[in-house]
Amino acid sequence: MNTFPLISTVVFLPLLGVGVLLVLDRQREAAAKHVAFAVSVLTFLLSLQLYREFELNVPGMQFVEQKAWIPGYGIQYHVGVDGISLLLVLLTTFLTAIAILSSYTAITTSVKEYMICMLLLETGMLGVFVALDLVLFYIFWEGMLIPMYFLIGIWGGPRRIYATLKFFLYTMAGGVLMLVAIIVLYYLNAGRPGGEFTFDLLKIYGLQLPFATQAWLFLAFAVAFAIKVPMFPFHTWLPDAHVEAPTAGSVILAGVLLKMGTYGFLRFALPLFPEATRYFTPLFAWLAIIGILYGALVSMVQPDLKKLVAYSSVSHLGFVMLGIFALTIQGLEGGILQMINHGLSTGALFLIVGMIYERRHTRMIQDFGGLARVIPVFTACFMIVTLSSIGLPGLNGFVGEFLILLGTFRVHRLYAVLATIGVILAAVYMLWMFQRVMFGGVTHDENRRLNDLTPREIAVLVPVLLGIIWIGIYPRPFLAVTEASVKQLLAQVHVRYQAEAEDVTPTTQQEGKKLIADRFAERRHAR
């Protein structure tokens, strides 16, 4: 073990970039872009080092840094990553670099301030994923709202102010209830025999609470996270925010910010309140399924490309939530992988919509048609991303959705069946949209003169496409990273459950398959 504070370096390197930008002259816009991009690439490369040094078979936290911060209150600067957060850290650093590169031409006003917001946002998001102290987590969680608020509000579309305020207020409303719950947890933890005054998440994990307390605290956390995900019925801020945000903002919003909600469930709500989690599982599974179907149905009728992608996020995140609340190893691994997949696919979709918007200054499906002949390279990229979003085998979406459905099927068949309808609907709305935009005759004369992708745009899309194909063909490295941590998480949630020997949680996929086979055999015997 070396003692180099790798995580802190990754988290705060963007802040250093902010410092450089602050002293940069406002007129030198090109320099501001390059500085921001260079810093984000450097951050990404450093975060790869995390992946390289990561020990696969260690389920707990790695690269842990722990320093007293507000000792009088037991608040620490305590960070670390495990298999669940590592992938999200990588996704964040990767997408931020992509998003910054994608905004080279899209942002024309106040470039310096824009880049400062992007880098601040990166620090905030990374902090959320690595924080292991509840207060530290909360500070990053709320603090990150500020740069996002400015990104939507200053560089967004016509209704940006409404959208950004709605985004801010929704998230904050959920957040403050979580804050109360955090403080309650703190005093409960201090009050138990041998308890100490600490906000250290790993220590509070050991707290055993009566069911009623768990239920309230779980709900307080869950509402905060559900708003962020967003789960039906808390999703209404999302389409507004997405439609008004600048392209890079949408990429980050869909790619990373929504994952904070699902990550919150994994890191906090589930392991802290295992009994409440199991009690509320049906509720959240049903909300997830409603989200899947509702998001898909609403996507189908959207005339605006960006809104369509936004609602498809509601549907996709429903899958993630379903996988998580299946509380099986496949469901959870699939859920985590699907978080990454959604970040890549939807991020890419937003990039593509942004690119077409830069050319035509419209996002209405009816304004397009027959683009395939005019801009073939663009079409090819769009096609791959569309298929990945649908979940075509061989691309990333398939792996995640399949694992989720498998994991769900094992515990509740009806959920899996209903969710599968969502997969079909996804194919309907995505392919129908693709057909209307890309195929057929060219319906608008303006579309005949469109330019194909520039080298910079290709450079933006290709890394994402590579990721999409890589996960589709060989997901093993990604699943391997999460496996140990997911098992530990399941053990935390099921700890008392297993003692009752009611349901045996299989720990490997082989066992899972065997279990399914056994169940089927039982059924046949019964008949």
């Binding site: 911060w69 507000i70 200053i154 207020l169």
Partner: protein, 485 residues
């Protein structure tokens, strides 16, 4: 018996003497100073404030009670002395450019500012109801004049008159409350009152309860808690902006200092009773302040209602009635000083040459035009809204954890939901500044160095308390030890 002077320890008196002396010196120098050079009087006042800070720090950690408890420079009092001197110092910095432009650059302005600071210090450094009342009056009377300092403006006149009438009314309540408490307990000394109450040596419990009720009403006026807040928006809107800044931070801190002392030192036995009353006041104050602030278009009125809401948050900490609760009051008041005075400094810095910007809409587009002031204003607004990583967040965090520790979880939930409401109107300032389209107008004059310094101090304070609050909280918690001691 031959008369002999009692031995007086001058240490605790020194800061007050320095402030008074500076104020008197300014009155003497004023006639000999050319109008163009009156800013020098401001500089002298500032030096006086710095000297006073030095005398407080020299006595730091050596609590001393003199004149039989009439004055008590204990840790609590010393802490508040520093807070008031900070408020006074920042106010002086933002006053110097302001009074010149507003045409009210008279020596009396600085002298009155110092005298009201003296009043605050007396209020916080006393263990006796009578001295507290004296401090309160010194503070108030100076402020009545300051509020009306813009003599030829109707709004300023209105402000002064309203403040005078309602302030006198509130003082009446306080005085009557003191009288009743004295009647019940036979003393105005806080410790002796406490002893009498806990030993059951109260002539009439009804009198005591009535007295306590009147004191709560009186201080409710002074801290601007609902339903005693009606004067606040008009007074704060009409008064000269620098005076508003001073009142919004200073008066509130002084009133809470005395309030804390009376409740925690003299009436701890009745805690169950006053906590119940303050619970209601806190909820009303937070909610009314925040909800009404949403509808404001004038920035000073908005900040006035926001100050009502903040009084509500601080009342939450009073309800908790614990060391942590009292400590969080101290912490919050300092955080509140930085962010509020910072915001007012920006308001003054962004004034047009001919007039101030009155409505929030007049700030349209200034955020990107003046990047430094825009960023500073955003920081103060986020801090007022309680969003991390700022002082405002840490303050709220401590207050609500004190409430939760004392098992007032419902109150904490009402509090945090209120801070969500407040986000809306604080953010509107940044929305207008960054996302609105401003009219083309000539750039303002260069920022005066005094204002720049004030803004920078406020920024550093806001971030320091937000990011590294640890040492500061320890000082605050140690200071409130004196309350119960």
């Amino acid at each position: 018996m031959p008369g002999s002077l009692p031995l007086i320890s001058w240490g605790p008196l020194l800061p007050m003497l320095v402030v008074t002396g500076t104020g008197l010196l300014i009155l003497v120098l004023d006639p000999f100073t050319l109008p163009a050079h009156r800013n020098r009087l401001g500089v002298i006042s500032l030096l006086g404030v710095v000297a006073a800070v030095a005398t407080v720090l020299a006595e730091w950690g050596q609590p001393e009670v003199i004149f039989g408890g009439m004055l008590a420079a204990d840790a609590f009092g010393q802490f508040f002395s520093l807070v008031f001197l900070l408020v006074a110092g920042l106010t002086l910095l933002i006053s110097m450019p302001y009074v010149q432009r507003a045409g009210m650059n008279y020596g009396e302005y600085y002298a009155l500012l110092l005298f009201s600071t003296l009043g605050m210090m007396v209020m916080a450094n006393s263990l006796d109801l009578i001295t507290i009342f004296l401090g309160l009056e010194t503070l108030s009377i100076s402020l009545y004049i300051l509020a009306g300092f813009l003599r030829d403006q109707l709004k300023s006149n209105e402000s002064a008159l309203k403040y005078l009438l309602l302030g006198a009314f509130a003082s009446g309540f306080v005085l009557y409350g003191i009288a009743l408490v004295y009647g019940a307990c036979g003393s105005t000394h806080l410790r002796q009152v406490a002893e009498a109450v806990s030993a059951g040596r109260v002539s009439s419990p009804t009198l005591l309860i009535l007295g306590m009720g009147l004191l709560i009403i009186g201080f409710g006026f002074k801290v601007a808690s609902v339903p005693f807040h009606m004067w606040t928006p008009d007074v704060y809107e009409g008064a000269p902006t620098s005076v508003t800044a001073f009142m919004i931070a200073g008066t509130k801190a002084a009133a809470f200092a005395a309030f804390l002392r009376i409740l925690m030192t003299a009436l701890p036995v009745l805690q169950a009773d006053w906590s119940r009353v303050l619970w209601v006041l806190a909820v009303l104050t937070m909610t009314v302040g925040n909800v009404v602030a949403i509808a404001q278009t004038n920035i000073k009125r908005m900040l006035a209602y926001s100050s009502i809401a903040h009084a509500g948050y601080i009342l939450v900490a009073l309800v908790a009635a614990s060391t942590l609760g009292s400590g969080s009051v101290l912490f919050y008041l300092v955080a509140y000083t930085f962010m509020n005075l910072g915001a007012f400094a920006v308001v003054i810095a962004l004034s047009r040459r001919e007039a101030e910007r009155v409505t929030i809409d007049e700030y349209a587009g200034l955020g990107l035009k003046y990047p430094f002031l825009g960023a500073a204003m955003s920081l103060f607004m986020f801090s007022l809204a309680g969003i991390p990583p700022t002082a405002g967040f840490m303050g709220k965090f401590y207050i609500f954890s004190a409430a939760i520790q004392a098992k007032y979880i419902g109150l904490a939930i009402i509090g945090v939901l209120n801070s969500v409401i407040s986000v809306y109107y604080y953010l509107r300032v940044t929305v207008v500044m960054y996302m609105g389209q401003g009219e083309a107008e000539p750039r303002a004059d260069r920022l005066s160095p005094a204002l720049t310094l004030a803004v920078i101090i406020a920024i550093i304070g806001t971030l320091q308390l937000g990011l590294f609050p640890s040492r500061f909280l320890e000082v605050a918690l140690r200071s409130v030890g004196a309350l119960l001691g």
